[in-house]
């Protein structure tokens, strides 16, 4: 036990040097500039207010669309249910740039729908929903599915209609799950960068984009750090809310859950159709639009022969491989150290909650000499990617029944052999899934790369952004083609993840 605690030093060092210290530096820098007068500056106030509004609006829309989908997934058994659940995972591995390009392909210039949405707030909200609707649906679905059947049955026998049962029993029961998802939705939307940069335009960009602009183009570090401090405070509150709710969710619910049944009656079929339609529209349409537009891009495919593209691909591959290796080391160490430690478990969540822009900015402030060093860039990639491995692996290790290691010990396995022969094989599916997520994160990394890399370290994401910024239809089309390529790579990670899940389910069913 003592030796596993020592392992915690490794991830703690990473968190401290690449997240804690830079953020502390950022706070020190920002505290000087931040004042009520600063926040009442009409321009910054509009940025903050809009960031807040779009995050809240996304929460509201996710609730509106997500609850019917989640309820249908929790209660109905129907052909294709498993596919729908899988589809909900797809946005988690999609790089923000792909999502942004997908929304543009739908509603941008020459969009598939023919509707021009640019310079309206709707584009950003749509992009936000692409990511955050699945998050809410998956969480709420679990809440609905876990609710003890006896509660629902008791309510029905006491005279409540299904509609009343939903409002009085099911929704209150699932509320902790719904609220925890809403915390994350708010957090991600408020501190979102990639989507807002591309879809927000001049007027509807968020405060994160403002920070980036202030640092990269105006070199106004004081205002930037004051804004970053505000972002940190607000997202910190959301993260605390999430962490608090997580503890409630960890409590087991007693009683058998309601078994899923085939829908009956036109109302239930209508609800199911609505759920499937919404999922397709919000989670699938942007990706389909990219594929469709790329298919007709014709000459733009010649961009793939461009040495610049090959260089970017090589960089993406190199950074992803290095980040993955780092993520494995830190993820394994953190997973083994955090077992049965609440504090370390919460720390593993930290990199999810941090705004990448704030981290990157803090790193620039703290290590000005390392601003374009590979070590710092890969370190930041690792920081963002390793929690996927740590958290997944730790959950899987905690699920190993206590008597299995005990049996192995009495059969003569030393602690090291026990890890090697029992724990790692049992946790291998979780490890591979975590690695696929980590790889997808590194693959699609955009914000930190924009801040910390050198021109010659162009990755696929920064190249897409660059092409998008150049004038001319040809550049737009080649950005689309490259997005399609990035999407396919992300889907590869997705297939790896879902394939693993399938295998795990088969093994569990035996």
């Amino acid at each position: 036990m003592r030796s596993t605690r020592v392992l915690a030093l490794l991830p703690l060092a990473l968190l401290l040097s690449l997240a804690g210290a830079p953020l502390a530096r950022l706070m020190a820098e920002g505290a000087g500039t931040l004042s009520p007068a600063f926040l009442f500056d009409p321009y910054y106030r509009w940025r903050l207010l809009w960031s807040f509004t779009q995050a809240l609006a996304t929460c509201a829309l996710a609730l509106l669309f997500g609850l019917p989908i989640a309820w249908a997934l929790a209660r109905f058994d129907f052909p294709g249910r498993r596919w729908l659940m899988r589809l909900m995972m797809l946005p988690f591995v999609m790089p923000t740039l792909v999502a942004a390009m997908g929304v543009l392909a739908l509603f941008g210039p020459e969009g598939v729908t023919g509707v021009m949405g640019q310079d309206t707030p709707w584009l950003l909200l749509y992009g936000n929903l692409f990511y955050n609707l699945p998050l809410l649906v998956r969480s709420a679905q679990e809440g609905f599915a876990r609710l003890p059947a006896s509660r629902i049955m008791a309510a029905r026998t006491l005279g409540a209609s299904p509609w009343r049962v939903f409002w009085r029993i099911e929704l209150p029961g699932a509320l902790p799950w719904v609220c925890s998802a809403l915390c994350l939705v708010f957090l991600y939307c408020f501190s979102g960068f990639g989507l807002a940069l591309i879809l927000g335009g001049q007027r509807y960009a968020t405060v994160e984009v403002e920070i980036y602009t202030l640092v990269a183009y105006e070199l106004n570090l004081g205002d930037a750090s004051a804004l970053a401090l505000t972002v940190l405070a607000i997202t910190g509150l959301a993260a605390l809310g999430y962490a608090w709710l997580e503890r409630i969710l960890a409590r087991p619910l007693r009683g058998m859950a309601l078994p899923r049944s085939a829908p009956t009656g036109w109302r239930q079929y209508a609800l199911l159709a609505l759920a499937m339609g919404l999922t397709a529209m919000l989670a699938l349409a942007p990706l389909a639009a990219i594929a469709w537009r790329a298919l007709w891009a014709g000459a733009a495919w010649q961009a793939l022969a461009d040495p610049e593209v090959w260089g970017a691909l090589a960089n993406t591959a190199r950074f992803t491989a290095l980040a993955l290796a780092g993520a494995c080391v830190f993820g394994l160490a953190h997973a083994f150290a955090m077992r049965r430690s609440v504090l370390l478990g919460t720390l593993a969540f930290l990199p999810y909650a941090l705004s990448p822009i704030c981290v990157a900015f803090g790193l620039l402030l703290l290590y000005p000499g390392l601003s374009a060093s590979l070590v710092l860039l890969i370190g930041a990639y690792t920081l963002l990617a390793y929690p996927f491995i740590a958290r997944g692996l730790a959950a899987s290790l905690d699920a190993v029944p206590a008597h299995l290691p005990q049996a192995a010990r009495t059969l003569g396995a030393s602690p090291w052999r026990l890890t090697w022969r029992l724990l790692l094989p049992l946790a291998a599916p979780a490890l591979r899934r975590g690695m696929a997520f980590a790889a997808a994160t590194a693959l699609g990394e955009f914000a930190v790369t924009l801040f910390l890399s050198r021109p010659e370290w162009m990755t696929l994401t920064t190249l897409i952004y660059q092409r998008l910024g150049r004038p001319g239809a040809m550049n737009q089309d080649s950005a689309l083609v490259l997005s399609c390529l990035l999407m396919l790579l992300a889907m590869l990670a997705f297939v790896l993840i879902e394939w693993q899940r399938e295998e795990a389910r088969d093994a569990g069913g035996r």
């Binding site: 005990q406 009495t410 059969l411 003569g412």
Partner: protein
Amino acid sequence: MLEVDKVSKRYERQWLAHELSLTVGAGEIVALLGPSGCGKSTLLKMIAGLEPLDAGAIRFAGVDLARVPPEARHFALMFQDFALFPHLNVLDNVCFGLVERRMPKPAAREAARAILATVGLAGYDTRAVGTLSGGEAQRVALARALVTSPRLLLLDEPFSSLDAHLRLTLQAEFGQRIRAQGISALLVTHDRQEAFAMADRIALLHQGRIRQCDTPAGLLAAPADAWVARFIGFDNVCERWALPETALRLSASAPAARVETMTPLAEGMRLQLSQDGQTYILHLSAREASPWRAQLAPGASVGLAVDSTAFIDFV
């Protein structure tokens, strides 16, 4: 061989073991019998080295085990739910301990196959452990424990997850197999039938202390106190004495007793009788009860002979 010497262990202000002492001799099977939740399993885990002691010592063959890690003790522990490794097939589960003790893979496989055959599971090598029935899984767990020829076999409620019929069959079979190998074993159970069926000696554990440790016959002949007498199945127990049921007999010529209650059972009936202000419990088989059937209604009176020489006084 095994010597548990004044071991103490507290858990949340409750003594799981309080200066508890116990020995298991060479080739002996000792049952640790006690109610659920009395700390039996914890004691077993302390012996295996999986739980630290608060005080006391555990020795094996005279060597203090305090600094010996579980894997170096060369004991085997069989769990209530078998603890088969789900990612390994039957053969690899059985091989596990041999491989840990540096036996080459082919030799380990050979030994594992041989022992699987002796427990009646020849040809199960490549089966996934999830596909085994309860009895099969139990046999695999026993094979995995025995194949390393452990110095001491620790069994934690090994039959409690099996159905009653299979439990009786396996208790007899496992008892013989363990004896045949000459392995010392410590069996933890809350089921007195199981303890009597398998053990050479039975230790009764109550509130962290061994209340009595004796052979099954010794226990029945002289239970040390009322708790022990009740726990091993005496129905007629007072603060100061216990009475075996064989000392009670219905007889027309004996002094009259009043029938307080009569409970029909699957294999006869249970009577509660009172005589001279003393209540007795008596079980009758259907055959024994048939001559008395008319007299056994509650409130009726029947002749009850009590053999006064059979009373066992507690010291």
